[in-house]
């Protein structure tokens, strides 16, 4: 794309916004309920993680309705069940955006595979999607808001922390799909940049639901007993974590010998494990249930009251939905309409409180600012925060450590409106009008 083309593009998109602005009051005249789509799997393998997010969204919508709704209208949840089937996500997103119950916003998805399936649909039909889970980055869409962590908000700070603890040797273990592979690629590049030798990095992938960890854990044990301080960086996803941690405990690998830092293990996942032998292993997130703030205690109390289970746990993706939902409310109020284009413009720069006592701001690249925390597993299944970034970190859509994406940025503000801008050549590779 040439610069003239870019200029033309900016001009058309500016025109488009003006038109959208003109048409907005017409849409706002509608005084039925504002519909909120919830696109989380309630059955199949992902139900473990996603069904709680559906319940959380229902709680948040209910609370908002009790507080008077939005723009004087009530909110109405529209719940879908894509049954852990990636193509069903795309189909149901289409239903949400075109059907009789046309929604104004969607909160949904967990795995990257399902997000990639929904992406073309929300772009084609100009929907809004809030995605609440940590992911691998290397993506930016005009219609998706990423309220989970990008790699620079989770993986890189975690590795920095361990380097500060004297770790020199790294075992990168992951489940075999796009998120772990991309994250590990970024981490490998980052570690090598920091002077870690090839021999001191071990990479291993296992399938979903893997349970026969004995020889891999034994190999890690061997890898870690060569005289250098070793750590495991785990992007193991889903229920494969339970046998993995059990095997660690059985083979006697303690956190003081080889600490494991996990990016996909939270309070929810630990409910299935006896954590006494795992005390001291780490996880990196942007929120922990044990965070000390009144907003957090209120959130937990509301959740316990809703579920009626006094042992109910909350986790990081739930905080992401809490932030995303509040950001959307505020943006709609600012725009005075639920019109997608108006909300998209209004939401950039919106700041709402997070649950750890700080605030989150929506950045122009559709990622948000988050504090990064490292927590150690405790014997009661909770994490104790041992380290935290002094300020919040803004999410980076395109990693600075991969050669292919280090010159790329994303900025969806007018007049640029570009999700993939090469700052060196000043060329927009993916912006308004292109896919």
């Amino acid at each position: 794309m040439t610069t003239t083309a870019l200029r033309k593009l900016i001009a058309t998109s500016a025109l488009a916004t003006t038109l959208a602005g003109l048409s907005a009051p017409v849409l706002a005249a509608d005084d039925g309920p504002i519909r909120v789509g919830i696109l989380h799997s309630l059955s199949g393998t992902m139900a473990i993680s996603e069904s709680t997010l559906k319940d959380e969204m229902l709680t948040l919508i209910d609370q908002q309705n009790k507080a008077g709704g939005l723009l004087g209208r009530q909110l109405e949840p529209v719940v879908m069940d894509p049954a852990s089937d990636w193509s069903l996500y795309a189909e149901q997103a289409r239903t949400l955006l075109t059907g009789d119950k046309r929604v104004d916003v969607i909160f949904g998805n967990w795995t990257s595979a399902s997000r990639k399936a929904v992406l073309p649909v929300v772009e084609e039909l100009n929907g809004l999607l809030f995605y609440p889970v940590q992911y691998e980055g290397e993506e930016s869409s005009e219609n998706i808001f990423y309220t989970g962590a990008a790699p620079n908000q989770q993986a890189i700070p975690a590795v920095d922390y361990l380097m500060g603890q004297g770790v020199e040797r790294w075992a990168l273990l992951g489940t075999d799909y796009v998120y772990p592979r991309t994250t590990n690629k970024i981490l490998e590049a980052y570690l090598k940049e920091n002077g870690v030798a090839d021999d001191d990095i071990m990479v291993n992938y296992t399938p979903f639901g893997f349970s026969d960890w004995q020889s891999i854990v034994s190999r890690v044990k061997d890898f870690g007993s060569q005289g250098k301080k070793t750590a495991v960086v785990s992007t193991i996803n889903g229920d494969a974590n339970v046998p993995f941690y059990n095997e660690l405990a059985n083979q006697g690998i303690k956190a003081s010998d080889i600490p494991v830092v996990a990016f996909s293990v939270g309070e929810q996942e630990l409910t299935g494990i006896d954590t006494a032998p795992l005390v001291g292993h780490l996880a990196a997130w942007n929120y922990f249930m044990s965070v000390d703030s009144d907003a957090n205690y209120d959130f937990i109390d509301a959740w316990v009251a809703y579920t009626g289970n006094k042992d109910a746990v909350v986790n990081d993706p739930m905080e992401a939905h809490y932030i995303g939902f509040n950001m959307w409310l505020k943006a709609v109020e600012e725009a005075g309409t639920t019109d997608v284009d108006a909300v998209k413009d209004a939401i950039i720069g919106v700041t709402v409180p997070n649950l750890s006592g700080g605030a989150a701001t929506m950045m122009p690249n559709h990622h948000i600012t988050k504090p990064v925390m490292i927590g150690e597993i405790q014997d009661d299944g909770q994490f104790s925060v041992v380290w935290q970034t002094p300020t919040t970190v803004a999410g980076d859509a395109w990693s600075d450590y991969l050669p292919a994406s280090k010159n790329l940025i994303s900025d969806w503000r007018a007049p640029l409106r570009c999700g993939k801008l090469d700052v060196e050549r000043m060329v927009c590779e993916d912006g308004a009008g292109t896919n």
């Binding site: 059955s43 199949g44 393998t45 139900a47 473990i48 069904s51 603890q165 075999d176 291993n204 992938y205 296992t206 399938p207 639901g209 893997f210 349970s211 026969d212 004995q214 020889s215 891999i216 034994s218 190999r219 007993s225 060569q226 005289g227 229920d239 339970v242 046998p243 059990n246 095997e247 405990a249 059985n250 083979q251 006697g252 956190a255 003081s256 600490p259 409910t271 299935g272 494990i273 006896d274 005390v279 001291g280 044990s290 000390d292 009144d294 205690y297 316990v304 006094k310 150690e376 405790q378 014997d379 009661d380 104790s384 925060v385 041992v386 380290w387």
Partner: protein, 543 residues
């Protein structure tokens, strides 16, 4: 005292009593003064206050100050800090120890007087946090505080920690404690530590003591020594080679164990299928779900017997067998017997059944995994030496698999039912002509196969997640084992399962879990091309 005082001389008795009381009082006063000399409340408060910092280094120094202080409560403080139970009032100045942190409301005691202090929660009590480095430090402090009590295990741990840590500063004291040490094991450990130090100082003679030592720290130090040059380096290399050779053998033994344990799971999962598939020719796609039912039975029995995971697991063995067996009989009576001789329809029907059973479990319990606890005797590892340890849960499953196999083999070999089953397998029509009620045999065989699948579920509950999808992961592997071993042959299933397990575990470290599985699958396909009957060909004629 009064009664024992001489005669009826009450005066004298009373005087004695008085002096005794006085003595007691004095003693108490003396004790009280020594206690307050040790550490008074202000000092105790100051010691604990120092822990209230965000910096882990400062916290470590504060903990060290407590360990060095005269405070009588120090061991309990350090232990509470280690357990994450020592904290401070959030908007006040009280220090508390949480006595039970399982719920949302915690019972508290005062950290200085240990008096009951009501209850609190995370909103009101700020627990002092520790990290890994501090945890290790605290464990060291508590160990050295209890070292004075002279427990042999504590001394052994201390001696173990010295390997590689002996320096010019402490070598004399280590030597002295070795001279005084009575325990053989501790002496040996200290000897290794001293020999390693001597070798590092250039004493080639000390290297002989280290020959064949499997401790990784010894190996790492020797690698550094061998990297130098001269006589010492050559000697160190020789010792190191010996160690590496020994380790290689133990590594092979360990891989074999891993393989056998992975194989035992395959055998357990497949052997029930070998019976139903072999005898009745039924391709039972719901076999995995029968395994799942066994696992859920274990969970249910554990729920009924809280706090006794061992007993529950033992009861689950007959329980899992009976429940899964009953399901098997039910499936045979209601579905399979009407589809006799139509393998494709049986396959589809049982596949549908497997989906129904999965959804049933999802609706009845929940889509979430259930946690089945392991009894103490199935946790941890049997540490044979520094290079070889066998995890107890895998060892248990391996033993269980062999027991089940032996029982099943004996059943087939020595009982009336076994005889009839073998007869029907070899020639159904002839067996029926001889008066064997083939329909009844079918039902019992299917029930038996299902029951054994239930037993596999009981064993798997100790190794993997118990959830609605548990069975799915094993159905393909089970068919693979049965086909590879030879249809309807128990020995074939055992040999096939074990060898696939070993091959898989040998390949896994080299090529990764995914590729290892692919290689095994391709290998079995090629093998079947060459030998369609499997390892052991069925002895009977297909009727």
């Amino acid at each position: 005292m009064m009664m024992n005082s001489l005669g009826g001389d009450r005066q004298r008795g009373r005087r004695l009593c008085h002096s005794l009381l006085l003595g007691l009082l004095l003693l108490c006063a003396a004790l009280a003064t020594t206690a307050s000399a040790a550490v008074n409340e202000t000092q105790a408060r100051a010691l604990l206050q120092a822990l209230d910092t965000r910096s882990f280094q400062a916290k470590g120094e504060a903990a060290q100050a407590i360990a060095d202080s005269q405070a009588t409560q120090k061991t309990r403080w350090l232990q509470a800090l280690l357990d994450g139970r020592l904290g401070k009032e959030r908007r006040g100045e009280q220090f508390y120890i949480v006595t039970d942190d399982s719920g949302r409301e915690w019972p508290l005691i005062d950290a200085i007087t240990f008096a009951d202090a009501g209850s609190g929660s995370r909103r009101t009590v700020d627990i002092f946090k520790i990290n890994n480095a501090l945890r290790t430090q605290l464990q060291g402090m508590i160990a050295s505080l209890s070292l004075a009590e002279g427990d042999e295990r504590a001394r052994l741990a201390a001696a173990d920690r010295l390997i590689g840590e002996v320096s010019a500063d402490n070598v004399e004291s280590v030597r002295a404690s070795r001279e005084q040490e009575e325990s053989q094991a501790v002496r040996a450990r200290l000897g290794v530590a001293l020999a390693l130090y001597a070798a590092q100082q250039g004493d080639a003679g000390a290297l002989d003591t280290l020959a064949g030592n499997l401790d990784t720290r010894v190996r790492n130090s020797l690698t550094t020594l061998a990297a130098g040059d001269g006589e010492l380096a050559a000697q160190a290399q020789r010792v190191l080679d010996g160690i590496e050779r020994k380790r290689a053998w133990y590594d092979r033994a360990q891989t074999l164990f891993f393989g056998l344990s992975a194989g035992s799971i395959l055998v357990l999962a497949a052997i029930g299928l070998a019976i139903t598939f072999g005898v009745m020719g039924v391709i039972n796609m719901a076999h995995g779900e029968l395994i799942m039912i066994g696992a859920y039975t274990t969970w249910l029995i554990q729920q009924a017997l809280p706090g006794q995971p061992g007993l529950a697991l033992l009861l689950a063995i007959p329980g899992g067998f009976l429940v899964a067996g009953a399901f098997g009989v039910l499936i045979e009576r209601t579905v399979i017997r009407f589809l006799k001789g139509r393998p494709l329809e049986t396959l589809l029907a049982t596949f549908g059944l497997s989906l129904i059973l999965q959804q049933l479990v999802r609706t009845l319990f929940s889509p979430l995994n259930r946690r089945v606890a392991s009894p103490d005797w199935l946790q941890g590892a049997w540490q044979i030496n520094d290079a070889l340890s066998l995890t107890l849960n895998r060892l248990g499953v391996l033993g269980f698999c062999l027991l089940v196999f032996a029982a099943l083999w004996a059943l087939m070999r020595y009982t009336r039912l076994g005889l009839e089953v073998r007869a029907v397998t070899q020639n159904r029509a002839m067996a029926r002509a001889m008066g064997v009620r083939a329909a009844r045999v079918d039902m019992l065989t299917f029930g038996l196969g299902a029951g054994v699948a239930g037993l596999a579920g009981v064993a798997l509950s100790q190794l993997t997640n118990v959830g609605p999808n548990l069975g799915q992961g094993y159905i393909v592997d089970s068919f693979l084992v049965v086909v590879f071993g030879g249809v309807g042959n128990l020995w074939g299933t055992l040999v096939a399962g074990m060898s696939l397990g070993v091959i898989n575990q040998v390949l896994q470290p080299w090529v990764g879990a995914v590729l290892a599985k692919i290689i095994v699958l391709v290998g079995v396909i090629l093998f079947i091309q060459k030998r369609p009957q499997g390892i052991f060909a069925p002895k009977g004629r297909v009727s």
